[in-house]
């Protein structure tokens, strides 16, 4: 049975990003999720290839099976058919720092070429121009999850040479740096954007173009990146969503809270 993919005009970029995120979740894995696209991605994974994935939300919901879309990671909707509802010490401490989480999903306002993340300040620490939401559980997730995936928009001001503030550790300043700092997780595995997927070169730990989304050129990715990006010889196109995935995705978020219907 060969897989049949949807045509590029049949889905939106956000839908593709959600599908990319979903495919990072393996069946049976423990997945640490924030709200937004990762929430949709995880719900999709459970309905397709990873029905036994266990979704954990830092507010305390564990092995959640929500049927409605949540707006907050503390949203009561996430309690529906969960196997447990406890608190932050449980999820971020016992479960995550305790070593039980396979993959975490986070967002970023800025990311650098080692996958380090800023979600706290834009501008200087002393006189910031914007105060962002802060770490929340983000620093904890990327510190201790076995691996983590970043989902964010691809803009030059977001893909930077130097972060305004390092909230959450990627590979810090390169190979061995996480281990030296005392961090337990293995670091970032993938960055999913609206243009492409990027992974990290195993030797240098620097960010590398993995696949370009349909219709996106390597040049376009480079022009929208403020950091140097390793570009391999052959860059493949991102694996497209299947019609089944798209149908499920639209059933998960029928009113388009996270993925607006209009293309």
């Amino acid at each position: 049975m060969t897989k049949k993919y949807a045509e590029p005009e049949e889905f939106t970029t956000l839908e593709l990003m959600a599908v990319c995120g979903s495919r990072q979740i393996k069946n049976g894995e423990v997945v640490f999720i924030g709200t937004g696209l990762p929430l949709i991605a995880a719900m999709l994974a459970k309905k397709t290839h990873a029905p036994r994935a266990k979704i954990v939300y830092e507010a305390g919901f564990i092995d959640s099976n929500a049927k409605d879309i949540a707006l907050s990671i503390a949203d009561s909707r996430l309690g529906y058919r969960a196997s447990a509802a406890i608190g932050l010490i449980e999820t971020l401490g016992l479960m995550l720092q305790g070593g039980h989480v396979d993959v975490g999903f986070v967002g970023a306002a800025q990311i650098d070429e080692y996958g380090n993340i800023n979600t706290t300040y834009i501008g200087s620490f002393e006189n910031p121009t914007v105060r962002l939401p802060g770490s929340g559980g983000g620093n904890d997730i990327v510190s201790s999850a076995k691996r983590f995936v970043v989902i964010m928009m691809h803009e030059k001001r977001k893909m930077v040479k130097k972060l305004d503030y390092l909230t959450s550790p990627g590979f810090l300043d390169g190979p061995g740096a996480r281990e030296k700092a005392g961090l337990m997780g293995d670091g970032p595995s993938l960055v999913v954007t609206n243009l492409c997927q990027m992974d990290f070169d195993p030797d240098t730990k620097r960010i590398r173009l993995a696949t370009a989304h349909p219709g996106v050129s390597v040049q376009q990715v480079l022009e929208n990146s403020g950091f140097d990006l390793i570009v391999p010889k052959n860059v493949q196109t991102t694996e497209l969503p299947t019609p089944e995935e798209l149908t499920l995705l639209r059933a998960i978020d029928p009113s388009g809270i996270y993925i607006p219907r209009a293309k």
Binding site: S76, R131, S168
Partner: protein, 303 residues
């Protein structure tokens, strides 16, 4: 034989807020959209409190209101925003004005700081924050965190200082008049935060009979021994949510967010919904019983 008279810790919301002097340090309960002590925030504004320091993992519209009204001058926290909508508008403005300072931690760091305070130890060990500006940069604390080598394994461990605030403020579904608290659904960091406070004020949707609590002691998440005062405060987290009790009112939250983009808009909201009403009941009257009834949780769903 003497029957134990039940201790009665009930006071009114106005009395409870009066107990908090300007300059107090507060643990602030609730997490995200779940069980913020919104009615307590409103009353702090009404009583014109000043210079509070607030400790919390993450909060949203509630602490934005406290920032807008200049009740709070310092936060130690990990997160704020109005999830699904955007950045908290008043805090942005107050930071630019220089009247609010924030010491940044991660959520686990804050939760452990409360657990440490509750456990009576001066610090807790942590494996987050390593290698980042959360460790390297600090705002107003003389010591924000320390990295040590574990005497047993040699690995690097962060020590974060415990917190014992003057008051812990928690909004719960149920409490009895002795102060035994039951919380449905997630607890966020309220279990630890309540125990960390030197005094603990519990606001609750309903005050239930002690015999009800005592018939299921394994459901009590904060025993009376920790609790100083109890305040009955139905719909006290509106327009946010209480698990098994009511859903959020996103229409109101969006209206708040849009209006607070300007200082004038915030002042208008504050006057209309907070300082312009006499108490929490009048606030709910203004919202309207029909609107509230529609938000009630629909069994078997907790929302």
């Amino acid at each position: 034989m003497v029957e134990a008279p039940v201790e009665d810790k009930r006071i009114t919301l106005k009395e409870a807020v009066k107990l908090v002097p300007d300059g107090s340090h507060l643990f602030w309960g609730g997490f995200g959209f779940q069980r913020p002590p919104m009615a307590f925030a409103h009353e702090l504004v009404r009583q014109n409190k000043r210079n509070l320091t607030i400790y919390t993992c993450g909060s949203e519209m509630d602490i934005d209101i406290l920032s807008g009204a200049k009740v709070v001058s310092r936060f130690e926290l990990a997160f704020y925003a109005i999830e699904g909508i955007g950045l908290v508008p008043n805090i942005q403005r107050r930071i630019r004005e220089g009247v609010i300072e924030i010491e940044d931690y991660s959520n686990l760091a804050m939760a452990l700081r409360f657990l440490g305070g509750a456990l009576g130890v001066p610090f807790m060990p942590l494996k987050s924050m390593l290698g980042t500006d959360l460790l390297a940069k600090k705002r107003f604390r003389s010591k924000k965190a320390e990295v040590i080598e574990c005497p047993f394994t040699g690995e690097k461990v962060v020590l974060v200082p415990s917190v014992r605030p003057d008051f812990s403020i928690v909004h719960a579904p149920r409490v009895d008049r002795e102060g035994n608290v039951q919380i449905d659904g997630i607890k966020g960091e309220d279990v630890e935060g309540a125990r960390a406070g030197k005094k603990v004020i519990v606001l609750a949707e309903e005050i239930v009979d002690s015999e009800f609590i005592r018939s299921q002691p394994d459901q009590t998440v904060i025993p009376n021994i920790y609790v100083t005062h109890v305040v009955e405060c139905p719909w006290g987290s509106y327009p946010m949510m209480v698990y098994n009790y009511y859903d959020y009112d996103m229409e109101h939250v969006r209206m708040y967010y849009d209006q607070c983009k300007t200082e004038e808009g915030w002042q208008k909201y504050c006057e209309e919904y907070i300082t312009g009403v006499n108490d929490c009941v009048e606030f709910l009257q203004k919202i309207g019983i029909d609107r509230l009834m529609k938000l009630r949780a629909k069994k078997p769903f907790p929302y």
